[in-house]
Amino acid sequence: MKAIATSDTIGIAFVVFVLFLFFSQVFPKLISVITDNFSKASGENVARQLSGLITVSGAAPYKIKIDYTPTTEHTYNILMKDRTVKVTPIFTVNYAEKASSTQRFAVGLNDYEQEKVNHFVVEKNFDGESTYVFEASKE
């Protein structure tokens, strides 16, 4: 009887210990990593970064080429039209927000559409007049 009581106590203590370890050490770290990765890879953030990079490429006096890969784990659908960029993320995880984001930029760029890409290149060339090129591919 005494042995049964001891094994039960050890069992309960073990479960409590595992739960404590999980909720105090693993869980907060996990949430922090998910939040960090997701905020960088979210459609809203990628659209804002892209629109910012396209605009500031115009600040280069001669030529510039900017490579931007927000993440290699996820891909995005890109639609560029009328000085706006619409980014729709394609996430496989359920917790991530799949909503698209449309952001504005301030320089002239041709309309562009590409699906399932995560590597973006913004190029500014100058030959008497500034011209801009945008390309996207899957990495």
């Binding site: 069992g11 073990f14 953030n45 910012g52 927000e97 984001s101 930029f105 002239g108």
Partner: protein, 233 residues
């Protein structure tokens, strides 16, 4: 006989102990899966003054642009503005002419930008300096309209699940389809900062960007460029 019974009992308890442990681990695993798969919903709301960021970016582009910057031997001089080019696009301040609105190919869609350039070496005793002033406009597009983006955001966040019918009767049609935080996020990310500023009363003051103004006779004067952006929709 007695020792065999005791051995079997001990084995049973050990097995029970292992099974209990496995059950506990399975419960934790289930909770973890439930949390990540159904309970946790990550949303990103970016709380920034988009107007100010856009104005800074635009000022950087303007001082490097061939439309305003001085060119020497086909080389663009960033930060050195050519007076001849300034006269073409803007009006001299205090010249009593209508301030023109021009589209020079640089500007955010659905926005109006007030650009003011002052010559810090041509100031009077009241510290009023000579300079140029003008409006730059961007294209008017449906794609960039905040209300369209807000509508898209709201429609993409509409959620139908087992609780929708229940929520429809308890909380009404709006809360049946959307979580209040989803609506708040859509508003945060899509309503223009210039519109939000009307309600928050927050202000950003700027000293402008330092520039050099190059006159046709070769004179170089220190100056500043101020860019104020109004994204009206």
């Amino acid at each position: 006989m007695f020792s065999k019974q005791a051995k079997n009992k001990g084995l049973t308890h050990t097995m029970m102990f292992i099974l209990k442990g496995l059950f506990a681990i399975a419960i934790i695993g289930l909770l973890y899966w439930l949390f990540l798969d159904t309970i946790l919903q990550m949303h990103v709301a970016i709380n920034e003054n988009t107007n100010e960021r856009h104005a800074i970016n635009l000022a950087n582009v303007l001082i490097s642009s061939e439309k305003l910057a001085y060119e020497n031997d086909r080389k663009m001089m960033r930060g050195i503005l050519d007076v001849d080019k300034l006269d073409e696009i803007f009006v001299r301040s205090g010249s009593f002419t209508l301030i023109p609105i021009k589209d020079i190919g640089i500007g955010y869609p659905n926005s109006l930008t007030l650009v003011r350039i002052i010559d810090l070496e041509k100031c009077n005793s009241f510290d009023i300096c000579d300079g140029w002033i003008g409006y730059l406009s961007g294209p008017i597009t449906l794609q960039g309209l905040s209300i369209v983006n807000f509508g898209e955001c709201v429609s993409e966040h509409a959620r139908a699940d087992i609780w929708t019918i229940f929520k429809f009767f308890v909380a009404g049609p709006v809360l049946a389809w959307w979580h209040p935080l989803d609506l708040a996020n859509c508003a945060e990310n899509n309503i223009p900062s210039s519109f939000k500023l009307l309600f928050t009363n927050s202000q950003i003051t700027s000293e402008g960007f330092p520039i050099v103004i190059k006159y046709p006779n070769g004179d170089m004067h220190l100056g500043r460029i101020y860019v104020l952006l109004g994204e009206f929709s």
